[in-house]
C-alpha cells in the first residue's frame, strides 16, 4: 500500500519529483567528482553522462524515445529537460553575456554555421556512400542527419526518402548530439575552447542545441550564451541548405 501511495504522489507531482531527483543526481555527481577525481572531471560532466546512461536504460526498458521520461514517475524530467525550459534557461544565461565579445566574433560565428553544415553534411554523405547507398535522396537524407537530428527528417520528408533512411538519419544526429555532450569537456583544452570567440565558433560548427548546451555546461557554463547563440541558427540554416543547394550537388554527382 505504501508503495502505491508513493508512486501515486510521485506521478501526480511529476515536475516536483523531477526537481528532487535531478537535485539528487547532481549532488551525487559532484561528490563523485570531488572524491574520485578530485574535481578533475567536472561534476556537471559526470551528471550529464549519468543522465545519458539513465536515459539509455529508460529507453531500453520502456522501448520509448524519451529516455527516462518514458517511465511514468519520471515524466516530469521530460518537462524539466524539455525544449521549453531548456530554451528558457539558455536565454537567461545571456543576461551575463558581454555584448562586445558577441559583436567581435559575429562574423566568424556566422561563417562557422555555414561551414559546420557543409562539413557535417559532406562527411555524412561520404559515410552513406561507403555503406553502400547510391541514390541521391538517401545519401542527402543521411548526410543531413549528420548535421542534426532535426535537419535529417526535414530533408528526408522534403525529398521523399524512405522511413528506414529517415530513421538512420535521426540516429546519426542523435549520435552526434550525445558525443558532443560527452566529448566537449574532454577535448576543450586541445581545441582552445576557453573564450567567447571559440565558443561561438564551436556552437556554429556543432549546431546541435542539446549537444552544445550539454557540452558547454560540462566545460564552462560562462561560455553557454556564446555557443548557444550560434548553435540556435544552425538547424534553420541546415533545413534551408540541405534539401536545396546541398541536395542539388549530391544529385549532380550521383544522378
Amino acid at each position: 500500500m505504501l508503495i502505491d501511495v508513493i508512486t501515486d504522489v510521485l506521478s501526480k507531482n511529476d515536475l516536483v519529483t523531477a526537481f528532487a531527483f535531478i537535485g539528487l543526481l547532481v549532488f551525487v555527481s559532484y561528490r563523485f567528482s570531488y572524491l574520485l577525481t578530485r574535481g578533475r572531471i567536472h561534476g556537471s560532466a559526470i551528471a550529464i553522462t549519468l543522465g545519458l546512461v539513465l536515459a539509455y536504460f529508460g529507453g531500453k526498458y520502456t522501448g520509448g524515445s524519451k529516455g527516462l521520461a518514458d517511465i511514468p514517475i519520471f515524466a516530469g524530467i521530460g518537462i524539466m529537460g524539455g525544449a521549453m525550459l531548456r530554451d528558457f534557461a539558455i536565454v537567461s544565461t545571456a543576461f551575463g553575456a558581454d555584448l562586445s565579445s558577441l559583436k567581435k566574433a559575429g562574423y566568424v560565428g556566422a561563417l562557422s554555421i555555414v561551414i559546420g553544415v557543409i562539413l557535417s553534411f559532406t562527411i555524412g554523405g561520404i559515410v552513406a556512400v561507403l555503406f553502400g547507398y547510391s541514390d541521391s535522396i538517401s545519401i542527402a537524407t543521411i548526410a543531413a542527419g549528420a548535421a542534426t537530428y532535426i535537419v535529417g527528417p526535414v530533408t528526408g520528408t522534403a525529398l521523399g526518402a524512405t522511413t528506414e533512411v529517415m530513421a538512420l538519419s535521426v540516429a546519426a544526429g542523435l549520435v552526434k548530439s550525445v558525443l558532443v555532450m560527452v566529448g566537449t569537456p574532454l577535448v576543450a583544452k586541445t581545441v582552445g575552447l576557453n573564450n567567447p570567440t571559440s565558443a561561438m565558433i564551436y556552437g556554429g560548427l556543432m549546431g546541435t542545441t542539446s549537444g552544445v548546451a550539454g557540452g558547454l555546461a560540462a566545460t564552462d557554463p560562462k561560455l553557454v550564451p556564446y555557443g548557444a547563440m550560434t548553435a540556435t541558427f544552425y538547424t534553420g540554416v541546415g533545413c534551408l541548405m540541405a534539401p536545396s543547394l546541398l541536395f542539388m550537388i549530391v544529385s549532380l554527382i550521383f544522378g
Binding site: 531500453k60 529516455g67 527516462l68 555524412g124 534553420g236 533545413c239
Partner: protein
C-alpha cells in the same frame, strides 16, 4: 519583484521565438531559425539599455539569474531524456556518420579561431 525578471525573460523568449518562426517562413522552411539567439540579443539589449530610464532592482535580476543557475540541472534533465538507445540501435553507419561529423567539426575550431583573431586586431 522577482516576477518582473521572470516575466521579462519570458517576454524576450516569446518575441524571439515568434521572430524565429517568421524568419523561417520567409526563407520558406518550417523551422524556428535562431529564435533563441534573437531572444538572447533582445534580453542583452533590454538589460543594458538606458533608453527609458530602465534600471533593474536586484530582486528583478534575481528572477533572471535564478534560471541561469538552474541551467545545469535543466541540462542534466535534458540529458536524461535523450533517445540514447535510439542512437545506439542506429547501427554502425549512424555511429560512423555522427562521430566523424563531430571529430571533423572539433578539428576546425582552432582554424576558425585563428581567423577570428587575425581579423579583429583593433
Amino acid at each position: 519583484m522577482v516576477i518582473y525578471g521572470v516575466s521579462l525573460l519570458a517576454f524576450c523568449m516569446l518575441v524571439g521565438s515568434i521572430c524565429g518562426i517568421l524568419l523561417g517562413r520567409l526563407m520558406g522552411i518550417n523551422a524556428n531559425v535562431g529564435g533563441v539567439g534573437i531572444s538572447m540579443i533582445l534580453l542583452i539589449f533590454l538589460a543594458n539599455t538606458s533608453l527609458f530610464e530602465f534600471k533593474m532592482k536586484p530582486m528583478t535580476q534575481g528572477g533572471i539569474t535564478f534560471w541561469s543557475a538552474m541551467y545545469i540541472p535543466i541540462v542534466v534533465a535534458m540529458a536524461s531524456n535523450q533517445n540514447v538507445s535510439g542512437a545506439i540501435n542506429g547501427g554502425w553507419m549512424a555511429f560512423t556518420a555522427g562521430s566523424l561529423a563531430v571529430l571533423a567539426s572539433f578539428s576546425v575550431i582552432p582554424l576558425l579561431t585563428k581567423l577570428a583573431g587575425s581579423d579583429n586586431v583593433d
